[in-house]
Amino acid sequence: MEHKIAIEFNNVSFSYDNIELLKNISFHIHENEFVSLIGPNGAGKTTILKLMLGLLIPESGEIKIFGNNPKNKNNLIGYVPQNLHFENKMPITVHEVVEMGLIDGMSFFKKEKYKEKVEESLELMDIKDLKIRQYNELSGGEKRRVLVARALVSKPKILILDEPTTNMDQASEERLFYVLESLKKSTTIVVVTHDTEFVSGLTDVVLCTGKESEKSHKIIRHNVEIFNGNKKVLRVLHNTELPENCCCKKEEKWNS
């Protein structure tokens, strides 16, 4: 079985205010893989996500999303951000927040056309009863569910989640796990997380970000296996570290 490459970084470098953060990093993620991006604080995890999303432009190197530039891919990627910096007092209903996931650039938004899709997404995240509520009045866990519903409403081929379990209650975490499990094998999922236990039963591949030198960071791709002890836990197979710019040959092994 051959998997297409969903996300590809080739010799990508990126700096913030002349401080080199990423230097010549190369990795790729196959279609329908579940990838956990882990690493210490400040290692550049969120930067890598923003590069994938086209929110940041690399200084050098090339990023491809299904072979194309990350720009002009609004319907390919669903995104759940980490920082809730936009949480102001703006009056907005849950239904309207989820609708945002269907905006297509500057095109006119026909509300009626997308009503069904929004309902489906609300149903999926089990927040249908919240749809006319004010977003600001929701609990932290409910807000996260709404943002996941917003990311999923366009049925994206790639789902990117930045620390999805932040502020989540137990019930919301369980719902998110159920949804991610149901999307696995049909959607490429990239999760930045500290909560490795949360994704341990789902992860196919771990991308480790870490310091290569004092200045820049690199990414190492590791396979994982599901270790069945008392409960399912993720085991990173460091001994199967793969060379950069390769991996297709070992694909079957990853899925075993």
Partner: protein, 277 residues
Amino acid sequence: MEFIKEIFSQNISFIRNAVIASFLSSILFGIIGSTVSVKRIAGLAGAISHAVLGGIGIALFLSVNKIIPLFPPIVGAIIFAVITAIIIGIISIKAKQKEDTVINALWAIGMSIGIVFIAKTPEYVDPMSYLFGNILLISNLNLFLLFIMDIVVIMLTFRYYKQIQAITFDEEFAMVRGIKTNLIFILLLIIVAISIVLLQTFVGIVMVIAMLTIPVGVASYFSKNLSSLIVLSTIFSFVFSIFGLVISWILDLPAGAVIVIFAGIIYIFASLIKLKR
């Protein structure tokens, strides 16, 4: 009653013009005020509103001295306002960290240029009229331009409502959805700048910013979403303007200042009621 009679009087047209201006400006205050408030760029709008005086001053100077013949001051003011908005917008996007310093400098420089040029204009105009408004200055041309601006802003808001909502709620996500966030931001500032030029004869440059924020503040206590915020703040804006005009007529006070004071008192009351609940 006397006020209502004057509205329909053939002799005193400025009251009628002020009432029409109240209605037309309320639409701009409602739509632009809501967007500016939820996007938290009221400070930027304030800077533009004050810097616009520079454009008004230069335009008056060029017009009265016939340096550029047939050059209506309002057109010059609009051109300068647009340039100011673009400069402030680009600075805001590019120089995030130094934004405050640069924008506050532009605020002061713009005002100073305005005062200097107005002082050097032969038929010296009292800058107070521009700063605090003067309903006697509302002309038919002002009303016509306000009407055109209303139509343009209503159409743009209807067409790009979802994009505006997305940008004000979560700009990063809006970018992921392919929305041209910087373009909309600059356009918004240009609309703010032009509106300020058109509104300054009614409430004045200093008070425009109050009317862009106070009615929205009151409306926000009753709004479920951006569209209801826009509609309610337009209504509040109109109510404040009419009551302010009536009070200023009865007490013989400057209309712009009375409107803002009246709006402010209602806002304080609304906030106290909200706090008690």
